[in-house]
């Protein structure tokens, strides 16, 4: 797709459509980087009642600028409550009281399983990634999960090298067998469009594309044989309001895919 003609970048429409996936008056456990940008955009636009929760223990935080880390001072200073790290995981995340978990990914597979640990083998990795952080329990315990990732054959693979955070596992019934309480990933939002799990196979299929993006392009930039929903939608471009709000933030695009 061409950033020049469209008037917005691929990262911008990705962030905007991720923001649109968040409903008002729900609670969202936010990973840093792309998720943080989208969650704050949602709060600044259609979801002023969105409750943002970060693993640093800040609950109902309302940053006026994008935090660079999950523990920036602005998160504490604008929070409804600040709790300890054990408390945020044990009292708030683990019981499943948070509606949406919002994660990034270095690598994820057709079942939405996420790898942020290693590329290659664990003992002698080709690339050592940061690791788990809060993601495994966010993916396990939030009522649902949204993943935001730039689409490429490197990122969207048939099988992840390491399962850091469980998505739909190995398919139908997998999460229940593992005793995972939340529904797991329900949307993968990329810079080309949106993928959702097929209700029968739990495999992620393309359900929507941004303007000027072709199905072929999406397939080329996917490591598995990507299927598309028959009623594949063309997703609306960002509105001027959304772009203005987004551009008033620190640019999210500065941040790498392995940020959290």
């Amino acid at each position: 797709m061409s950033d020049r003609t469209a008037g917005y970048t691929a990262d911008e429409i990705m962030t905007v459509s991720a923001a649109r996936a968040l409903r008002d008056n729900t609670s969202c456990f936010v990973g840093i980087g792309l998720p943080s940008g989208a969650a704050n955009l949602a709060r600044a636009t259609h979801a002023p009642g969105l409750v943002l929760i970060y693993e640093s223990g800040t609950i109902g935080t309302k940053p006026d600028r994008l935090p660079l880390s999950i523990g920036d001072g602005v998160l504490a200073e604008t929070a409804d409550a600040v709790v300890s790290v054990p408390e945020i995981f044990n009292y708030w995340l683990q019981p499943g009281r948070i509606d949406v978990g919002f994660l990034g990914a270095a690598q994820l597979d057709k079942f939405g399983n996420i790898n942020t640990t290693v590329i290659g083998g664990y003992q002698a990795p080709r690339t050592r990634l940061p690791g788990a952080g809060g993601a495994p329990e966010i993916a396990a315990s939030c009522r649902e999960v949204i993943v935001i990732v730039r689409q490429s054959r490197r990122a969207l693979v048939e099988r992840v090298d390491f399962v850091t955070s469980v998505g739909q596992g190995s398919g139908p019934g997998s999460r229940q067998r593992l005793g995972l309480t939340g529904a797991g990933p329900q949307k993968i939002i990329t810079d080309l469009g949106v993928l959702e799990p097929d209700p029968r196979t739990c495999e992620f299929v393309l359900t929507g594309l941004y303007p000027d993006v072709t199905l072929e392009e999406a397939r080329e930039r996917t490591g598995w044989d990507l299927a598309a929903r028959p009623d594949l939608a063309t997703l609306p471009p960002p509105t001027d309001t959304e772009l203005a709000a987004l551009r008033s933030f620190t640019t999210v695009g500065e941040q790498g895919p392995d940020d959290r």
């Binding site: 880390s69 600040v82 995981f89 683990q94 080709r126 469980v166």
Partner: protein, 274 residues
Amino acid sequence: MAEIVSLAEAIGQAVRDGDAVAMEGFTHLIPFAAGHEVIRQRKRDLTLIRMTPDLIYDQLIGAGCARKLVFSWGGNPGVGSLHRFRDAVERSWPGPLELEEHSHAGMANRYVAGASGLPFAVLRGYSGTGLMDPGHQHPSIKPVTCPFTGEVLTAVSALNPDVAIIHAQRADARGNVQLWGITGIQKEAVLAARRSVVTVEEIVPGLDPRPDAVVLPAWTVSYVAEAPGGSRPSYALGYYDRDNDAYQAWDPIGRDRDRFRQWLDREIFGAARV
């Protein structure tokens, strides 16, 4: 009972070669000055414990202080990789680095168990992940069955470091410590450890109560040392902001062994002792 001493004295007394050392501070109040003093005193064979290794452990690992790393997220927040950490894992430079890897929830609960005098903690976690993969043998994660419901949950072993090192905003003249804002896992780390060092922005006559504050009474702390700016380039709420540029600037230094060596000589071994 807390002794108020210099930073050099505190690290010299508290940290011994081969110790398991936890330097905590979740993005906020990271004890950089104390970490640099550990490098300066050339401590060796340390097991470094920390949820988010951050620049502080990238530096200790690169300087050759670490034998093992116990952690849950090893990146440069907002920037990318920790290249000294990667160089140690991917190419064993300056030496091999053993990893004991967890999730944040697992690490937090391991500290809670340690602070509570229990050998383990229970959580819903790891199920289905590579960290539970038998191939990736993990002596600090095991299943545990609820004696009431029969449900299988996950147990993690307690963390009881030899030394916990944290940075706080203030202490009073008796050595009572006060920190506030994002207080992370510091209380648990200190209460779980055999010995502890707390660096502070300032020592004040008395501690007036503050919102979102944690107080560690003097009798729970081994050493308190005044170290103004002791958590830079991290931040100390109420004293200074996070130096995001410094986190960006670390990337090219950490990427290159020579530039890192030069940084060590200039910033650590060249710098006057605190």
